[in-house]
């Protein structure tokens, strides 16, 4: 058993950490306020290779592993969860389906530019009447000669404004669900207004509308009718991304709380000397360590081509609930100051809440885990 990161994992972690601290952190608070999407920073991330991190070089990726991907998302989340969501959704929801299911031709044409950072990628699964129950997809795709005609609406989709394509699920004449690559400039495909959100405010979340959207026949992704299997696989990987995001956010909460507790003096001593505060901090530090172990192990299983569905769901469930708890406790430790924007921790709580919902709610994670232990 080896618990040490490899040399290149450490170098990737260090490089992303430095970039996050120096370039991403300074504007995070402002972007939360204005909801402005950091296009420049995303461009830099593309140049560094982060947008193609866990994919092979032959498709324009960096060829790093899933552990490195988790480390990168964690570092970004420590300073800006919205941007970490942008990156995580791009890699594990937007790019992964092309990598797993795409033909050589589709990979070269759509995946490579995404991995090289020319554009982002998005994944459109959720619909007004199909959330947790993704099998309830109502969007339709009808084959007409050499084109598919898509009709339907997708809800809460991350990245579409900056995405060169979206992978969308739809029903065809064949039973089951299928996936399609919908390029940005497709006639009949439009992107709705930005949602007003509680948190993750500078990530791009929008509605997608397909109104007789016409895409070439060859844009079917994978086998017709087998999209369900495909996106379950995609969501497994996505959960590692959300777990990493959660871990980073929880660490940021602990760090802020610890720093504040050592500075804030009440009753003649720093509040970190009160056992009630110490226990909160000790609990968080312990749970963060456990979340880290669970996450890295799930990523390691994926890298070693072993089953990781259960472990990824557990890592996501535990880490996302921890992120909410940690932010909540961080505010508590800050007292009234924590309720104020200036101290960041209120943003951490707003951002963290999404993690219990996106890419499968906590309830859905428990369903997945229960199923995999034989219930």
């Amino acid at each position: 058993m080896n618990f040490e990161l490899t040399e290149e994992q450490r170098m990737i972690q260090k490089t992303v950490r430095e970039f996050a601290q120096e370039v991403i952190a300074p504007g995070a608070e402002r972007r939360d306020e204005t909801t402005e999407f950091p296009e420049d920073i995303v461009k830099d991330l593309g140049e560094m290779g982060i947008l193609g991190l866990p994919f092979p070089e032959e498709y324009g990726g960096v060829g790093a592993d899933t552990v490195s991907f988790a480390l990168a998302v964690e570092e970004i989340a420590k300073v800006d969860a919205s941007l970490a969501l942008t990156v995580s959704a791009h890699i594990s929801l937007g790019c992964a389906p092309l990598y797993y299911l795409g033909s050589e031709e589709q990979k070269k044409r759509y995946l490579t530019p995404a991995l090289q950072g020319e554009y982002l990628a998005a994944f459109g699964l959720t619909e007004p009447n199909a959330g947790s129950d993704a099998g309830g997809t109502e969007t339709t795709a009808i084959l007409e000669g050499d084109h598919w005609r898509l009709n339907g609406t997708k809800m809460f989709i991350t990245n579409p404004t900056y995405a060169g394509y979206v992978v969308a699920t739809a029903r065809t004449a064949k039973e089951g669900i299928s996936s399609f690559i919908v390029p940005k400039d497709t006639p009949g495909y439009s992107i709705g207004q930005k949602y007003e959100k509680l948190g993750m405010r500078s990530s791009d979340t929008r509605e997608l509308i397909f109104s007789d959207a016409r895409i070439p026949k060859e844009n079917l992704l994978g086998t017709e009718g087998e999209g369900f299997k495909g996106f379950l696989k995609v969501l497994d990987g996505g959960r590692i991304g959300i777990a990493a995001l959660s871990l980073g956010l929880a660490e940021a909460s602990l760090e802020a709380a610890l720093k504040y507790a050592k500075q804030r003096v009440q009753f003649g001593q720093p509040i970190s000397k009160f056992q009630a505060i110490q226990f909160k901090l000790a609990d968080l530090a312990t749970q963060i360590e456990m979340a880290r172990m669970g996450l890295y192990r799930a990523a390691w299983l994926k890298d070693n081509h072993q089953k990781y569905t259960k472990e990824a769901a557990m890592a996501k469930l535990f880490a996302s609930e921890l992120a909410v708890r940690a932010a909540n406790e961080a505010i508590q430790i800050h007292g009234g100051y924590g309720y104020m924007k200036e101290y960041h921790v209120e943003r951490f709580l707003r951002d963290a809440k999404l993690l219990e919902i996106g890419e499968g709610t906590s309830e859905v994670q428990r369903i997945v885990i229960a199923r995999s232990i034989g219930c």
């Binding site: 170098m11 560094m48 982060i50």
Partner: protein, 261 residues
Amino acid sequence: MKSIVLIKQIPDTGEMSMDPQSKWLVREDVNKIINPFDTYALEEGIRLKEQHGGEVVALSMGPEHSKEALKEAIAMGVDASILISGDVFRGADAQATAYVLAKGIAKISEYDLIIGGIYTSDGATGQVGPAVAEHLGIPHITGVRKIREISETRIEVERLTDGGVEVVEAELPALITVVKEINEPRLTSLKGIMKAKKAEIPIWGMDDIEATEGRVGETGSKAKVIDTWIPQRSKDVEMLEGSAQEIGKAIVDKLKTAKII
């Protein structure tokens, strides 16, 4: 154009501490970085290669973990890295360090330009660069903020001095040390890191560089550090409140009371 960039791995400037007994900087268990000035040297070397073709090699003397810094140099874009390492080299002063680096460079043998940072943030002598040049019998220019022109045989640079800027030329091969004004080091690309992972970094010892015993490491160092300490920082801070005028007056009163003015 073949450049050799001299780099050193140092403890993160924000986290430095000293071993009270040996008076050496604690170099284990702290975050380590490439000496900040050396990253500008690396960037300049890589740019020269991009503009004029050729090759750029990073060279370092230090403990084995300096390999990390040398791998980072490869991740940034240098073609190869070499480490000179071994217990005998430990505790070297600026002169002993320069001797060893010069021997290493002599072994590499072919080069047009040697680039270093103006000084390291841990030792801060600024002597190593010039001393290497003296050992090699080549000209050196310190504090370079811009390479104006470079050809096969000649370099013309702007050199930052206390009073202003000097334009200096030298024949190649030469050694320059650079300041932060010279460029903006590039972001390390993660692709570069994967390339660095595969790179082999040779470790050279005494025999490889044909160094003379007694001229390296602590024994080869004429400068002996008698004492070093980190200055105590007082934590007594008094925050004054009020308008700018009130605060100004309060400061003057306090300085008067303390008989400073």
